[in-house]
């Protein structure tokens, strides 16, 4: 990280380790989250993403390392003295307070004068489109409305960092997709640095500026959504974010600035270079990058096993000399139609859609 990036980091982890008994939840984590960024922590349950978030909040304290919120070392500082706000998984609205009282709660704690407080509460409720609901109690609201109250209650605090702990998990699918877009545009509008925890890869891809994919307390890969999706660094990332065809291959040489590899189904070229002949490689190809042509065309020979119509796309499950392959074909042209189980086909992919995975960290 450059000096400049360090200056602008709103959240900073310095070699943080957190254990629960013998289990290590977060291992030696160093991380900078720049100002204004929508940053997602993505991973399966137990990967340490929630613990990481709770370390920012101060609900957990690290055994080793330091946590900073906007250049202030908050290690050991209790949550109520840290400059953050949080939207909890099940909203955690106070059931004995109405909407306005819920939203005003934090402002009261900050001793914001009554008049200004009422004004800010009103503005926050307008922002989340809940004006007119001020007198309602949480139980009288739908899940989506409760969600908005929770968001209003957090943003009214004008925190340095907004923490979102799977805030959309409790909503049904349609509402969730709607809230994803809304939350994201709200965050852009306010420019609040946001840390978002989710296990839903689509949610992370939709909303984030950057995604940290976590596993076993470590960040496996950190990057922009497109980068993480299209250039997965490890097998875990390649399979956790969407589907991937995983192919074991051996480098056999190079030609025209490309490497030639040999796998069970045959030889093909990949864009990455710098391998010594005989080096074993683990490759990943996204199913939507796989092209299918009638047998006889150049490519790897394969047999169609299953054809699944999915509306927008057709999924083709194939096998090539014992290697299972999947292809997602868009249903926009004729390309996807007409394939039958049992049919022999020819499979190929652009050399630059093949990603070489880091074998030292493979599953």
């Amino acid at each position: 990280m450059t000096e400049n990036a360090y200056q602008n980091a709103d959240v900073r982890f310095e070699r943080v380790t957190k254990r629960f008994g013998r289990a290590v939840a977060v291992r030696d984590l160093s991380l900078d989250i720049p100002q204004g960024m929508f940053f997602s922590l993505l991973g399966p349950s137990g990967c340490g993403k929630t613990t990481t978030l709770r370390l920012v909040a101060g609900f957990e304290q690290p055994e080793e390392g330091a946590v900073y919120i906007r250049n202030r070392n908050v290690t050991g500082v209790p949550p109520f003295k840290r400059d953050f706000a949080m939207v909890f998984q099940n909203f955690a609205l106070f059931p004995h307070l109405n909407v306005a009282e819920n939203v005003a709660f934090g402002l009261k704690m900050l001793r914001v004068p009554q008049v200004q407080r009422a004004e800010e509460v009103r503005n926050a409720l307008v922002l989340v489109k809940l004006e007119g609901f001020a007198e309602r109690y949480p139980k009288q609201l739908s899940g989506g409305q409760q969600q908005r109250v929770a968001i209003a209650r957090a943003i009214v605090m004008k925190p340095v960092v907004l923490l979102l702990d799977e805030p959309l998990g409790a909503l049904d699918k349609n509402l969730r997709e709607e809230m994803q877009v809304e939350l994201r545009s709200l965050q852009r509008q306010l420019g609040i640095t946001t840390v978002f925890v989710t296990h839903d890869q689509e949610e992370a891809l939709t909303m984030s500026d950057r995604i940290a994919v976590m596993r076993d307390g470590l960040i496996e890969q950190l990057g922009a959504p497109r980068e993480v999706y299209e250039r997965p660094a490890t097998e875990f990332v390649a399979t956790f974010l969407g589907a991937s065809n995983l192919i074991d291959a051996v480098a056999i040489g190079s030609e025209n600035g490309r490497s030639l590899v040999e796998a069970a189904p045959g030889r093909f070229a990949i864009a990455s270079t710098g391998f010594s002949a005989g080096q074993r490689l683990r490759l990943a190809v996204r199913p939507e990058r796989v092209r299918i042509r009638p047998i006889g065309a150049s490519g790897l020979p394969a047999t169609v096993r299953e054809v699944v119509y999915r509306g927008a796309a057709t999924h083709l499950f194939m096998e090539s000399k014992g290697l299972p392959l999947i292809a997602f074909l868009q249903n926009d042209t004729g390309a996807s139609s007409g394939w039958q189980p049992g049919q022999a086909v020819s499979v190929d992919f652009e050399p630059d859609s093949v990603v070489v995975l880091d074998r030292t960290r493979s599953a």
Partner: protein
């Protein structure tokens, strides 16, 4: 057929529970010298007699004070204990939980005796403070139980939410936890009060000449003077106090429920 049987059974249960109490209360309003049921007319004669008998009146006032004080102590101690142990796991807290609930299962008469011996051992404790201590200990389990149940029903995330909104532990307790558990604190306190008001076994050991509680006074009055109807009036007063409290608490908590879960 089954339904009729169940109704009959329910009716019988109510009769057995409420019948004797009703008889005592109705009798308390009797104008006659001796027990006649039903009384030929109504009068407040025995209530007057009750309040004019100095020993009964003193004992009554003392009992109400005792119940109020021990109820407050038991509520404070029991609530704090419940807050400390309800959510924790591990053998230490399981043991503490059992200890706090022990007075519920311990025979009060044995408890009274042991407390008396203990007071002797530490050099003596005056009767009234001794009684307050005893009834606090006996009332605490009711508060611990009621409050523990409701503390467990409060989502700990609400307290984290409060902390995330800059409320320190004390303000979180006052503004979030307490408003959510206070109905159970009140109902625990009510139990402690009622228990103290009617407690006889432990009080037997801890009262002394001139410092008696109403149940003790009623007990000895019946033994040595035999005036049944003034005792009926005393009982009616006790039942009256309890009824007023129960109705008041019910309205208080009931109202709170309406505010909290409007449908």
């Amino acid at each position: 057929m089954t339904r009729a049987l169940l109704i009959a059974l329910a009716g019988l249960s109510y009769l057995l529970v409420l019948g004797p109490i009703l008889i005592v209360i109705v009798t308390a309003f009797s104008p006659t010298e001796f027990f006649v049921f039903p009384p030929p007319s109504l009068s407040l004669r025995w209530f007057a007699a009750f309040f004019e008998t100095e020993s009964l009146r003193d004992a009554f006032v003392r009992s109400v004070w005792l119940a109020a004080l021990s109820c407050v102590c038991a509520t404070v101690v029991g609530t704090m204990a419940a807050l400390a142990i309800a959510r924790r796991r591990g053998w230490v807290f399981t043991t503490l939980q059992s200890l706090f609930l022990a007075p519920l299962i311990f025979p009060a008469i044995v408890f009274g005796l042991s407390l008396l011996l203990f007071f002797k051992l530490i050099g003596g404790v005056p009767e009234f403070p001794g009684l307050v201590i005893a009834h606090t200990i006996l009332g605490t389990p009711f508060v611990v139980r009621a409050v523990s149940a409701s503390v467990l029903a409060v989502d700990p995330v609400l307290e984290e939410a409060s902390a995330s909104l800059r409320a320190g532990p004390l303000r979180t307790f006052r503004l979030v936890t307490l408003p959510l558990i206070w109905p159970s604190i009140i109902s625990g306190a009510l139990f402690a009060f009622i228990l103290s008001l009617g407690e006889l076994n432990a009080a037997l050991f801890l009262t002394g000449p001139g410092v008696t509680t109403l149940p003790i006074e009623i007990f000895s009055y019946l033994q040595f003077q035999g005036g049944q109807l003034v005792i009926a009036a005393a009982s009616a007063v006790q039942v009256g106090i309890i009824l007023v409290l129960v109705v008041a608490v019910e309205r208080l908590i009931g109202l709170r429920r309406i505010v909290r879960s409007p449908s």
